[in-house]
């Protein structure tokens, strides 16, 4: 059975071009870039080129790009490194709908005596900017707020946030794992101090991330050891990962407009058709300010895991914010923060597309969806009218 992959916010296919690019770096060009001999040194050159490509995608200087092990490491480093560089400030501002890579760190810091403010969102998942404005003060060490949300795709006004932080001399970090590669960004015209990205969300392999650190931003190193990454992140480089991310960044730039138009069109088609053909379904998140690839739809009276398993039967991959899929007993913290009723949160499905999806895949899913939803509604004790 073929796989229809609509779970690209979880991870993406490695682009074939990326795979070709990194293939030699396992069995042939396996040298250590730190070595003195040319065999290793030639790898160092490739790493420099990859750094330049990533810098170009971000609109920053190559020296501002630090390669890390993953997005989570970038987030952890940004927060912990800033706090330890600014020991006199004891307040952290974040949002209620951050990824656990940020939220768990903040909550742990809270138990160590930091004051942590979690800014709320409205029913469309938009940040309460007024609350944020009131909270930023000269006690604040760091503001860490995501660029775009992984579950709904809603984009936050990070540039406005960054500007305010700059005024108050507060470091601003943004987890841009879901945004990079999907929407253009230019850090040279931005006030963002720190930014995290993850390779496997933009068709590079897993196990490679980046932390952008703006020149002049004080950050204490998190992983200590050798002199790699200018001493800011020790550990022998993940050479294939770095080279692969460089290639993926290049591809993302080449494909921005065309891919995003195509992906967005497919997403819109999938979304509007499902909302039309499945009664009692609703869209979660701000329609006007979203990533072009993400759609989060709630189906009332039925439960997300059951929907996913029926989709899986057709080879369709998606994800859900229901309690059952996470192994916890409560549904997604993002949907709850938005005030989505439990009834709808339990039945939420996220479709996230990529440039590898086709019209035919979208049509197939549109065709199968009503049957799946009706089938579960027939089982549901909360549906009394015939479906």
């Amino acid at each position: 059975m073929r796989t229809i992959y609509f779970d690209n916010n979880a991870t993406t296919q490695v682009a074939p071009e990326v795979f070709e690019e990194i293939r030699p770096y396992f069995c042939q060009l396996y040298g250590n870039p730190s070595s003195m001999h040319n065999f290793g040194g030639q790898v160092g050159v490739k790493i420099r080129q990859a750094r330049e490509k990533v810098a170009k995608l971000l609109g920053c200087e190559p020296g501002e790009v630090i390669f890390t092990g993953c997005g989570t490491e970038s987030d952890n480093t940004a927060i912990a490194g800033t706090l330890s560089a600014r020991p006199n400030r004891r307040k952290i501002i974040t949002s209620r709908i951050e990824h656990p890579a940020v939220l768990s760190v903040c909550r742990q810091l809270e138990s160590h005596g930091y004051e942590v403010i979690e800014i709320g969102v409205d029913s469309k998942g938009r940040l309460d900017f007024d609350e944020f404005e009131q909270q930023v003060d000269d006690e604040t060490a760091i503001v860490t707020i995501m660029y775009a949300n992984n579950e709904t795709g809603v984009i936050f006004p990070v540039e406005r946030i960054a500007e305010l932080c700059r005024e108050k001399d507060v470091v601003f970090h943004t987890d841009a794992v879901q945004a990079i590669g999907k929407i253009p960004i230019n850090l040279s015209e931005s006030n963002i101090d720190l930014l995290s990205l993850s390779g496997h969300k933009l068709h590079a392999p897993k196990g490679i991330g980046v932390l952008f650190v703006r020149k002049g931003t004080r950050l204490t190193s998190f992983i200590l050891g050798g002199h790699q990454e200018g001493g800011r992140r020790a550990g022998t480089e993940n050479v294939p990962g770095i080279i692969g991310l460089g290639k993926a960044a290049e591809l993302a730039m080449q494909n921005f407009d065309e891919e995003n138009n195509k992906v967005k069109r497919l997403r819109d088609k999938l979304e509007s058709s499902i909302l039309k053909s499945c009664p009692d379904s609703r869209l979660n998140g701000d329609v006007d300010n979203r990533l072009p690839n993400t759609s989060n739809i709630s189906f009332e009276y039925i439960e997300g895991e059951a929907i996913l398993l029926l989709l899986d039967k057709y080879g369709i991959c998606a994800s859900s914010g229901s309690a059952c899929t996470s192994g916890s007993l409560e549904p997604s913290h993002v949907l709850r923060a938005m005030g989505v009723p439990f009834t709808a949160a339990h039945g939420s499905i996220r479709f996230s597309l990529s440039r590898y999806n086709t019209e035919e895949e979208v049509d197939f899913t549109i065709e199968k969806m009503p049957g799946i939803i009706n089938r579960l509604r027939e089982l549901s004790p909360f549906v009394t009218k015939p479906v």
Partner: protein, 293 residues
């Protein structure tokens, strides 16, 4: 991805006996939309008093649907007396087992069956009457219900109880009480908790003890309380007496005396010293909360 048995998958993809029997002899409804699963069971008897037909409607995940489907198959042909003896374990076993975290689905099946039998016997409304005192407010689970899953499934830990009936899976505020119920029922059967770190309890200097208490509160206790809008502050340590104050939601919570103190005490005994006693400082309960303690 959950690892479901073939039998679970079969009953999820091809559920048996879906629907509602008209003019049923027994109706049982449990669960709710908010809880994430709900089941309505109806059955009809033949003239010999055996269950002739049973049907279900279920809102929930794959294992909830499979459990309901299999339940209708199990009880068909049974007398009411026989059906009343069906346990959640029987249901899970019939499916070749369920993932630990999904065991509550089998309990929901048994509850619905019980409610339907009660309804048939005219003992109550078709809504399952809650028996006992509510322990877990998040999911509305009573002490009787918790006792029952512990006994029927020989459960030994709070985590297991959460897997089987959801109690303790929301804010976690009732975990202390669940632990007490487990202790009461299982008694000696519970393995002695890990040897409390002896190097701690042996000869802690005062300053070490205080630091450890503070550290334990910071790392082990506060995060759980923060999760539902509460907080705790260490006020003082006098010998083996630890004086704390509860803040935020915890301060107004009527259950404070009963659960929070127990959780705090259990954690402090586990990580610091066996002889510690926790007392609540009532005087400071109304003071504003200081973030930078």
């Amino acid at each position: 991805m959950w690892e479901y048995t073939d039998k679970v998958k079969d009953h999820f993809f091809n559920p048996r006996n879906v629907g509602e029997i008209e003019e049923p002899d027994g109706v049982g409804e449990v669960g709710s939309l908010a809880c994430g699963d709900a089941l309505k069971l109806t059955f009809k008897l033949d003239k010999n008093g055996r269950i002739k037909d049973a049907k279900f409607k279920t809102f929930g995940c794959a294992s909830a649907i499979a459990t309901s489907s299999v339940l209708t198959e199990i009880i068909k042909g049974m007398t009411i007396e026989e059906a009343a003896k069906v346990t959640n374990k029987d249901i899970a076993e019939y499916l070749g087992g369920l993932p630990e975290q999904k065991m509550h689905c089998s309990v929901m099946g048994r509850e619905a069956l019980e409610a339907a039998i009660e309804n048939y016997r005219g003992e109550g409304a078709k809504k399952h009457e809650l028996e006992g005192k509510v322990v877990c407010n998040c999911f509305g689970v009573t002490d009787k219900e918790i006792e029952r899953v512990i006994i029927e499934n020989d459960l030994r830990t709070v985590e297991e109880v959460t897997n089987y009936c959801k109690a303790g899976g929301g804010c976690g505020g009732c975990k202390g009480e669940i632990e007490k119920i487990i202790k009461r029922i299982q008694g000696d059967k519970i393995k002695e908790p890990r040897e409390p770190a002896k190097h701690h309890s042996r000869d802690l200097r005062n300053i070490e003890k205080m630091q450890l208490i503070q550290q334990t509160i910071n790392e082990q206790i506060r995060p759980a309380l923060r999760a539902h809008g509460g907080n705790i502050e260490l006020i003082d340590v006098e010998g083996s007496k630890v004086i704390v104050a509860f803040r935020g939601m915890c301060a107004q919570c009527k259950l404070t005396e009963f659960t929070m103190k127990d959780v705090v005490e259990a954690k402090l005994r586990e990580f610091v010293a066996e002889d510690l006693l926790v007392e609540e400082d009532k005087d400071s309960a109304n003071e504003p909360h200081h973030h930078r303690a």
